[in-house]
C-alpha cells in the first residue's frame, strides 16, 4: 500500500475487526470439525458417563450395518438422479427467461418461489400431493392413467418422489445463477453466428453451453453438496421409510446421534459422508473443470 497508515495500525484494526467473527467460527466451525473426528473414535453416549475409546470400531460397525449401506446407496442414487436433471432444467429455464417476452418478471418470480419457501412448507404440501388419494394420483386418473400408488410408502417410488420435489424446489434458484451467466454473454457472438446461418439449437449448443461453463461448474458443486446432505424432506415426508428405502446418510447421522444417542457412530457416519463429498467434488474438478474451453 502506498499510503502508509503504519503496518502496526493496520494489524491492530484487522485483528479487532476479525476478532469476534473468528472467535465464533472457531467455536462453531473449526473446533467442531476437529472434534468430529475425535468423537468418531469413541463410544459416546450422552446418557452414559463412561465414554470408552473404540478406535476404528465405529467405522467397522458402520460398514457392517445394513441400514448404513442402504443409506449410502440411497444418497448416491439421490444425488446422481437430482444433480444432472436439476442442472439441465435450470439452464433450460434460464434460457427461456432470457427471451424477450412480455411479463417475464412474473414467470421468473413463479419459478423462484419454491426456492425461497421453507423446506417444511414444500414437504408438507407434497405429502398431500403424493398421498394415495392426493393430487398427483387425481391428475393421473383424470388423464386416464390408473395409478393406485401411495408414492411415499411405496419403496420404489418414495426416493424418486422426494427427488422430484428437490428438483422442483431448487431449480428456480439455479435458474437465476444461469440467467446471470447468460446475460453476460455478448450478444455480438450470437449475431455473428446468426449471420453464419446457425439455427437456435446450434446457438444454444455452440455458444450458450460453453459460455456458461463456469456457472455450470458452480451449480453442479452446490447441487452436489446440497443433495448429499438432504435431510429435511426425508425427516418430514418419509422418516426414511418404508424399510429404509429413503434413509439417506444425513438422516442416518441424525437417527444414530439423536435418536439412538450414539454420537460416536453418528460422527463416524458424518465423516464418511464428508469424505464422499470431497471425493466426488474432486473428481468433478478433475474431469469437468470450470474453464474447460
Amino acid at each position: 500500500m502506498k499510503f502508509s497508515s503504519s503496518k502496526k495500525e493496520q494489524r491492530f484494526w484487522a485483528y479487532l475487526f476479525l476478532g469476534f467473527p473468528l472467535l465464533l467460527m472457531s467455536v462453531f466451525v473449526f473446533f467442531p470439525i476437529a472434534f468430529a473426528f475425535v468423537v468418531s473414535f469413541y463410544d459416546w453416549n450422552l446418557l452414559i458417563p463412561d465414554k470408552p475409546f473404540v478406535g476404528l470400531g465405529n467405522y467397522f460397525e458402520l460398514f457392517k450395518d445394513e441400514v448404513f449401506v442402504k443409506a449410502v446407496k440411497n444418497t448416491i442414487v439421490y444425488t446422481m438422479g437430482v444433480v444432472p436433471v436439476q442442472t439441465m432444467l435450470s439452464l433450460f429455464l434460464a434460457f427461456i427467461m432470457n427471451q424477450k417476452i412480455v411479463g417475464i418478471a412474473f414467470f421468473r418470480t413463479a419459478f423462484y418461489i419454491p426456492a425461497v419457501t421453507s423446506s417444511v412448507v414444500t414437504s408438507i404440501i407434497f405429502v398431500w400431493i403424493y398421498s394415495k388419494p392426493g393430487l398427483l394420483n387425481y391428475i393421473l386418473d383424470t388423464v386416464g392413467i390408473d395409478s393406485n400408488i401411495d408414492w411415499l410408502t411405496n419403496p420404489s417410488t418414495v426416493l424418486p418422489a422426494i427427488m422430484v420435489l428437490n428438483i422442483w424446489t431448487t431449480s428456480g434458484y439455479f435458474m437465476v445463477s444461469f440467467l446471470a451467466g447468460l446475460q453476460s454473454i455478448p450478444t455480438t457472438l450470437y449475431e455473428a453466428a446468426k449471420i453464419d446461418g446457425a439455427n437456435q439449437w446450434r446457438l444454444f449448443k455452440d455458444i450458450t453451453v460453453p459460455m456458461v461453463r463456469p456457472v455450470t461448474y458452480f451449480v453442479v458443486v452446490m447441487s452436489l453438496i446440497g443433495c448429499f446432505q438432504v435431510f429435511d424432506q426425508i425427516f418430514i415426508m418419509s422418516s426414511g421409510g418404508p424399510d429404509n428405502s429413503s434413509t439417506t446418510m444425513s438422516y442416518y447421522v441424525y437417527q444414530n446421534s439423536f435418536k439412538y444417542f450414539r454420537f460416536g457412530l453418528g460422527a463416524a457416519s458424518a465423516v464418511i459422508l464428508a469424505l464422499l463429498i470431497f471425493t466426488v467434488t474432486a473428481i468433478q474438478k478433475k474431469y469437468l473443470p470450470p474453464d474447460y474451453y
Partner: protein
Amino acid sequence: MRISYFIVLVTLCFSCSNEEKNMRFSSWQSSQTEEKIVRETLESFKKVYPEVAFDYQPIPGNYTEKIQLMLGTGKAPDLFWLKGSTSPAYMSFNVLYPLDSLISATPEFDVDDFFPLFKDAFKYNDTYYGFGKDFNAYVLFYNTEMFEEAGLTSPPTNWEELVTYATKLTKDTNGDGKTNQFGFVVEPTIDMLMPFAYQNGGELISDDNEIKIGEPAFIEAFDFYINLYRTGIATIPSNQGAGWNGDVFGRKQAAMIISGAWLIPYLKESFPDVKYKVAELPMGKYKATLAFSTAYVIPKTTKHLDDTWKMFSYLAGKKGMKEWTSSGIALPTRKSVALENGFYQDSIFSVFMKSVVYAKLYKIDLKERWFDESEAAMQAVFYKGKEPEEVLKKLAKKLEKYKLN
C-alpha cells in the same frame, strides 16, 4: 452498534443459564382432548397442593428423542411420561430416580393396589423407577350399522370369523368398481401385529431374554395378518390418505379396527355420527391382547424431589388417577380406581377390564433401535411384498445386537 450487540449476547447467555425455579412436568401431546384433561388434572393437583409451584411443558412431536436430549443434557423435566415399550433401555441407563425409599415413606401410595400386570412394569434390577399412569389395551371396535347391513349380529370371536366377517363387510358401496368399505384395517406396525402373535403362542422376546420373533408361532401370525391385507378384506391407513386406523374407521371406510381407548374421545369429537361397539379381540389358539402402560418417572437430576414426589404420588395415586381416567381416555392401573369409576359396569370399558386379565404388557427389553428395525421389517412385508418368514428370521438375527447387556 457493536456495543449493543454484545449486550444482547451477554443477556442471552445469562438468561439461558438461569436455574429453573419451579418444578417441571412434561408429557407428549397426542391430541387436544388429552392435553385438556392433563391440564384439568393438574388444576386439581394445585388445589390439593397449593404450595407446589410447577410448570407444565408439553412436548409435541418426536417425544422420545426430545426427552432423551433433555436427559442427556441434564435438563430433563422433574416429572415426565415414559413410554412403556422403551422403558427398559432408560432404566438400564441409570438416569432415573429410584423410588423405593419414597414409596416406603408414603404408605397411602399403596403399591399393592396396582393390577399385577402393572405393578412391577417399571421395575428394573429389583428397583422401582416408575408407575403406570394408566393403561390401554387393544380391543376390537366395530361399526354396528355396517354389521347390521351385512346381516351380522355379533362381533367375530376367533380368527376364522374375523376373516369371514371381514369378507362380508368388504364392499363397493358406490358402484365405481373400487372397494370403498373394508372389513378390517391393519397397520404396518409391530405393536398391532403382536396381539396376533401372542394369540398364536408366539412372542418377541422371552422372559429369559431370548429373541423369539423368528419362530414359527410368530411367523404364522404374521402370515395371517398380512393375508388379511393381501386378500383385500383389510386396508392400511395410508391407502385411504389417513393418518391412522381410527381415521379410517371414523370416515366409515372400514367396519372393524383394533384400537385402544384413545379412539373413543377422538370419535366423539371428530366423527360423532359413527355408531360402534367394542368387543374383546377375536382369539387364535389363545386369548391374548397387548396392553400399553405409560409411566410417570423422575430423572436422577431432579432438584425438586419433594415437590415432584408430591405430584407423582398425586397423579399416580388413587385420587389423581381417578380424575384422569374418569374421562375415559385411558384406564386405571389401580384396582380401586377401576371399581370406583364403574369401569366394570360400563358396556365399553368393561371390555378393557376383561382384556387386562389376559393381556401382555408392551415392554420390550431391548435397546431403542429394536423398534425401528422391526418397523422396517413390517414395511418390507407390506410395501415390498416380502414374505414374513424371511423377514422375521432376518430381524431375529438383527435384534440379537440390541439386547440390553
